[in-house]
Amino acid sequence: MTLWWIGDVLLIAVVLPVVVYLLKGVLDASRGIEPSVTRIADAARAGSRDLDAVPLLLTTQQHVKTTVEVVAGYGGSLDVIVDDAE
């Protein structure tokens, strides 16, 4: 009977606190990850929204091409009408 009581005391005084301590550690670690994951998701969504303007690059590409063509034409004309340095 004495050993049974000793077992009870060990169970309540040692095993139960250790189990609670370990499980609480796991739960705290898991809850600590949640805000980080939320921030990562928010940042990724914001990054994706920022890239909505990427199709405008096609317009820029066309404008650059047109501008360089105009500059080339203008430069060709200048090359004809202006004397060379040497």
Partner: protein, 192 residues
């Protein structure tokens, strides 16, 4: 049942309850993490898809701009000469001549002339094209010596004197053609 047995059962029940509470809380937390990671993965996938064509487009833009720079640098050096080109560049963008022209590595070592003070062939060429171009207006060495308001005179000096004195009426160019009022004899007769 002995009291020790009751205490044992109570202790076991407490341990089980603790296990249930913490494990369920952990499961719920992990599910929220999974949901958040799913959102993040979806957004990252969107980023990857949206940014996929960027490299090709930017490369094409850069190639076109490179061609434009090559063309403009080549034209500038061809028309104004390398030394005067550096003077023009430094006059328009003070300090920029130190970097030199991309396609002319020797240009970085050239000491750019003060185009704003000394009129060179390159400046005259530019003045002839755009007479009021404020060359070297932003020079760090003080105001330019060129009179910008009367700057067109410098370009006008290129032309013959009768153009500079502002005659009221210059003789008109001759009218030519078969029905012109004055018929000019051909300088040479066509070979028969």
């Amino acid at each position: 049942m002995p009291a020790a047995g009751v205490v044992l059962i109570v202790a076991v029940v407490l341990i089980v309850l603790a296990l249930v509470y913490f494990l369920l809380s952990t499961i719920a937390s992990l599910m929220r993490i999974t949901t958040g990671l799913d959102d993040a993965i979806a957004a990252v996938t969107e980023i990857v898809e949206k940014s996929a064509p960027v490299e090709a487009v930017v490369k094409d833009i850069n190639n076109n701009l490179d061609a434009g720079v090559d063309l403009l640098e080549g034209l500038l050096v061809k028309k104004a000469g390398l030394v005067d080109s550096m003077g023009l560049v430094d006059g328009l963008y003070p300090g920029a001549a130190a970097a030199g022209l991309r396609n002319f590595p020797d240009s970085a070592s050239i000491r750019p002339p003060r185009i704003g003070e000394v009129y060179t062939k390159g400046t005259l060429t530019l003045a002839r094209l755009g007479r009021e171009a404020p060359i070297a207006a932003a020079s760090p060495n003080g105001p330019v010596l060129r009179n910008i308001e009367g700057g067109s005179l410098d370009a006008r000096l290129i032309y013959p004197e009768n153009r500079q004195s502002h005659p009221e009426k210059l003789p008109r160019s001759p009218v030519i053609g078969t029905d012109s009022p004055v018929q000019y004899e051909p300088a040479q007769k066509e070979a028969e």
